[in-house]
Every structure is written in C-alpha cells, then in structure tokens.
Amino acid sequence: MTQRIQIVIVFILIQLSIGYLVYPNLIYALTKTAHWEVVMFQGFLQWILIWIYIKGLNYFPENDVIDIYLKMGRWATIIILTPFVINLIALVAFNIRLHTEVIISVFLPRTPYWSILILLYFISVYTAIKGLGTIFRSSIFIFLIVIPLVLFNIFSSVINFDIHNVTPAWNSPARFLFNIKFFYLLGFSSFLFLGFMASKTKLSFRQLFIACASVTLFFLSVVYIPLFIFGQDTVVTLTNPFLEAMDSVEISWFSFNRQTMFFGLSLVGLVIVANSVMLWMISQVMRKIVTSRRVKSSYWIIAFSVISFVFAFFVPNQSLVEKFFLWSTGAQAYSMIVIPFTIFIYGFLSKRGVIRYEK
C-alpha cells in the first residue's frame, strides 16, 4: 500500500516539475480565451491514455513495460524503446538546463550555470543509481517540503488577483486541437514511468484518479494565476509568466519578502525527482536490452547522464533551451501514444490467443 502512495507522489512531483515552466506559455499561445478548456482537454486525454496503459499492463501481472516488449520480440523492443531512450536523454538534458536558467534568474544571478548544472546532475544521478527505493523515499521528503511551498505560492498570489482580467468564455473546441502545440502539450503529461514501476505492485486506475485530478487542478492554477494577475495580452509578452506573477506578490507583514524564492526552491526539489526517475528508466531499459553481466545498471546511468550533461552544457542560450525542450516533449508525446496502445493491443491479443488455445 505504501508503495502505491509513493508511486502517486512521484507521479505528482514529475508532473509539477515539467508543468511549471513552459506549460503556461504553451497554453497562452494556443488560445486567447477559455484556457481551462485546453487544460481540461489535455487532462482528459491523459486520463484516457493512462487508463489504456494500465489496462494493458494488467494483462501481464509481474511484468513491466520492457518485459512485455521483450515477449513481443527483441527487435520490437529495440525499435520502440531506443527512440524512447534517446528522447529521455534529451528530456533530462533540457529539463535540467531549463530549470537551471530559472534558478539562476530567481536567486543566483552571479553563479555560472555549469556549477548549478553539476550540482543538480550529481544529486539526481546519485539518487537514480541508488535505485527505486531511494527515489521513492526521497520523493516523500521532497513532497513534504515542496507541496506546502507550492500551496503557499498559489494562495499568496490571490491578493493580486483581478478576476475580471479573464474573459469567461466557451470556445468552439476544435481549433486548438489541430495546432502542433497541442501535441507538445500532450507531452507534458509524463506517466510512462508507471509501467516501469508496476512490476511488483498492481496499479488500478482508481488509485491514480485522485492524483490525475489534483495534477489537473495544479495545471489550472499554473495557467490561471498569471492570467488573473496580468491578463492574456500581458502574459504573452512575458518569458516566464508564472515567475513574474510570483514576483508581483508583496506581503508586507511576512518575514520573507520574495515569493519567488519559494518558487525557486521548490523547482530544485522537483527537478531532482523528475530527472532521477528518467535516468532510472533509461537504466532499466538498457539493462534489459543489453543482457551483459559485466555492465551494471549504474554504469548505464553514469554513461547516459554524462551524454545528457554534455547536451545541457552546450546549448548556447535560453530561447534555444526552450525550443529544444519543446521538441523533446513533442517526441515524448509520440511515445506516450505509441507505448500504451501497443501494450494494450498486444495484451488484448495475447489474452484472446490464450483463450482460443485452451479451447
């Protein structure tokens, strides 16, 4: 039972980490009114995909995604999972670089970015090498530290709200669906790790439902806090709307006069969890594809994290970082659609096959 709660916590933390930074900008670019529609629609799609994914995984108890693909055949595994691993490397790299840039702008203006990069890498690689148990335990700590900060940020920003800045409206929903940016958006719902952890505990969709709902609520708040404070036309001119929204909050009686500090601190915790989970996923895939006794999974983590560190280090400027990050989430969206469906279909077919065979 505890492990299920831990999985839910990791799920929430990863979503927060990825959703804080580029997510609101994407939504503002997608629509001018009725932002909630886009957020809800994305949440809804995510629910469907998770449902299919878990349904598919439950056909194979005690197996994780890689085992299932290995049953399909070694080549199927390599074809489907190699792009996924490459994508994860890119995502780790640009996610960490993006967070580094924001952390620098929040509270370390004179620190060179590579030192923060090294720090974040070192901690998340260490956590990933230590394995799933460490990730779970540290995620509970980080959850307990970060969630109060996040909630405090949300509630303290209420003092600057002007509800009239948002047009209450109902769009004809079809338009944003055909925008390529909506595809990127889908990539922000990272749930694929569920299949890598579910080997021991059987997950049911109902347990994840609350997590999904709270994540959708969080996404709504991330989108609507800058909107309530600045309004749509202002928000599109800002590079980091949520950061600016936090910066505008002034509570004179409060001993900390900068809300952005809390925001920056919570980012540090979130990015460590997200990246260690992604690195751990990479090691799992590589360990099972390359069945060599000599190569331990920690070697894979170190090797791939060095690759992504090099990526992260050599991106020249922030706008490129954002662009690359978007591309890698777009690619992630591709595997988010392909992996649940292939697993579900394969599970469905093999179950039928078994039944026929018995008759």
């Binding site: 203006p109 009239h164 036309d233 910066d247």
Partner: protein, 350 residues
C-alpha cells in the same frame, strides 16, 4: 569496515564545501542597498539616475545620494556599479520616482517600464511615482528633515490600511500591464518634495495606454481606490456644515447592455462618523450633503475621463461576460464614451 567509515567521513566532510554556498557571495555589510531610484532625462539626451542609499549607522537616519548620467538606464546602473565603493545590490529598490518630463514621452516611458519589468534584479513590485520636481530634490529632501528614517520615502507609501486612504500604490507590474489591458487604465501617484515633510501628495497622473493624460486631485484618486474595493477607511471629508470620517466603504456594480450601450448601476455604501458639526445640523442633512458632494465629484470625474477615453475606474473589466474578447479591444473608444453610470451613494451613521 574502517575503510568504509573513512569514505563516509570524507563524504560528510565534502558536504561542508557546499556550506560556503553561492558563487561570489557578497556579505550584506559589503553591499550598498539603494531603496529609492529616481530617473529623469535632461534635454532629451542622457538619462540621469539618482539612487538613495541608506547608510547603516547612527539609527538609520542618514542616507547618501548617488547620481550618474548615461545613454540608457541599464548603462547608468552599470556605471554606478563601477564607481561605487561597495557592491551595489538593486534587488531591494522599493520606489521608482520618474520625473515628469521623461514620463511625458510615451515611447520613453514604455521602454523604461519594460526595462524595469524585465530586469531580473529590480523587483517588479517596486512602486512607481511621478514628480514635477527635480528628482534629485525629492530624494535629497530626506536628508534635510530632522529625525526622518532613511526608509522614509518607502514608508510614505506603505502606511497601512486606514492611515492615508487617498494615496495610491502602483507597482511596476501594474504600469507594465496597463497598455495591454483594453478595459482599464491606471493612475500613478504624483508627489513633490515638501517643505516640512519629505513628500507631498499631489494627486494622481492618469495613464492611458502608457501615455500621461491628465492629473486628478487626491479626492478623485480616492475614488479609484474605492472602485477597486480597497477600503478607504479613515478618509476625512469636510462638507462645510460638518466634518465626517469615512469608516467603511464598499462598492457594488451591476452591469448590463441596453441598445448596444453599456450601463452600470453602481452603489457606494459609506459608513461615516461625524467628527464635528455646525450647531443645529441634523444627521440627515449631513448624510444628504455627503451623498450630494460625492456623487457630483464622481460624475465630474466620469465626464472628464469619458472625454479623454480613459477608463480609469476599470468599468470595462466588468463587461467581459457581456462583450466578446475581440470587441472589448475597442472598449476605450467605442463603448466607454457611451457608458452610462447610475451612481448612488448611501451614507449611513456608524
């Protein structure tokens, strides 16, 4: 086993390295922390930047004024950094005073505000004020007054609820936002150097899409606070026959569209406390008088702003559910001049 302990000890020991913390840390006693920044532009050529930096000695009562000139605000900030004895930390700037001749230039003002908003160091919640006086004079005025704390100019704007209800607080992010909002304009407080006090509040400058339009009196700027439902508790009003203090206020607006013309039913509820009265004046008369004066003041201001197409009250904000997003873009020119406001004041005794 002993070897293992040695490594553990080494790791714990290494973690102390991170204790020295951030890169190039500068202790707080080695920084100069300016509180107020004054910006002006002389002869349309060079920016002139003045900083008021408190000296943390002798009960915080002295501060120094640093002035520098340059082609852009950013370059002046750099120059001040270079020439200062300490590291100058701009992250605690609380107030930015802009001289009127600079603020009059719409383009300059917009780029200035954009710079201040985009700057990572200057906090976007610093307040903005406009002055007719020379900026140097406003900032150095603080040193001539006896017993005034170095943070006086900041304290002036942050008295708290119930002390100065007319005073407006306009942070940078609101000024930055105002040209993008199509249904609301803002007012920026106007101050000048006082003879006995550090600052004198002169009313507010109305900004329409980042352009200075008009100045309104302190009484009128109180309305703006009122319509943002900020409590104007503590406002003292002289009615000729009596003097009353407003102890509570609340505004309720009902919006509707009639023949494509916007309409607002606005009710202002005031709770008053009578401080003094001429003999023989009834409570009822005082109430009626207050209602009459307030209504007249409101309609005058409304007429004035409608002729300049400046929605200072933000009435348009409340039409978001009646007019579509794209039509509201023309709120200032198409709708606001035709807006009918039915304003009623209901004064009640405490």
């Amino acid at each position: 086993m002993r070897n293992n302990n040695f490594y553990k000890f080494l790791i714990v020991f290494m973690s102390t390295i991170s204790l020295c913390g951030c890169w190039d840390i500068k202790d707080i006693n080695k920084r100069s922390i300016p509180l107020v920044m004054g910006i002006s532009k002389e002869d349309d050529e060079e920016y002139r930047l003045t900083l008021q930096i408190p000296i943390p000695k002798s009960n915080n009562q002295i501060s120094r004024i640093v002035t520098e000139k340059g082609e852009s605000v950013a370059s002046v900030l750099g120059k001040i950094r270079t020439n200062s004895e300490n590291a100058v930390d701009f992250s605690q700037i609380q107030l930015i005073v802009i001289q009127k001749n600079l603020a009059n230039n719409q383009r300059e003002l917009r780029s200035l505000i954009k710079f201040l908003m985009g700057s990572e160091e200057i906090p976007s919640r610093a307040l903005v004020a406009i002055t007719d006086d020379n900026v140097d004079k406003v900032l150095s005025n603080i040193n001539d007054k006896l017993g005034v704390n170095a943070s006086a100019i900041y304290d002036y704007f942050n008295k708290g609820v119930g002390w100065a209800p007319e005073l407006l607080n306009t942070p940078i992010w609101e000024v930055y936002r105002s040209p993008f909002l199509s249904t609301k304009d803002i007012a920026v407080p106007a101050v000048r150097a006082g003879k006995d006090t550090v600052l004198v509040f002169e009313g507010s400058e109305i900004l329409r899409k980042g352009k200075l339009i008009d100045r309104i009196s302190p009484e009128e700027s109180q309305f703006i606070n009122m319509f943002q439902n900020k409590n104007v508790k503590g406002k003292i009003e002289n009615l000729g026959v009596a003097t009353v203090m407003i102890t509570n206020s609340s505004v309720q607006n009902k919006t509707s569209m009639k023949n494509k013309k916007p309409q607002v039913l606005s009710d202002l509820n005031l709770k008053i406390n009578i401080l003094e009265r001429k003999e023989g004046t009834t409570n009822n008369r005082i109430r009626k008088e207050l209602e009459r004066v307030t209504e007249k003041r409101f309609y005058d201001l409304l007429k004035q702003t409608q002729s300049s197409h400046t929605d200072i009250f933000g009435f348009g904000q409340q039409f978001h559910h009646l007019i579509s997003y794209h039509e509201l873009k023309d709120w200032r020119n198409d709708y606001y001049p035709n807006l009918r406001v039915n304003f009623e004041v209901h004064a009640n005794m405490e």
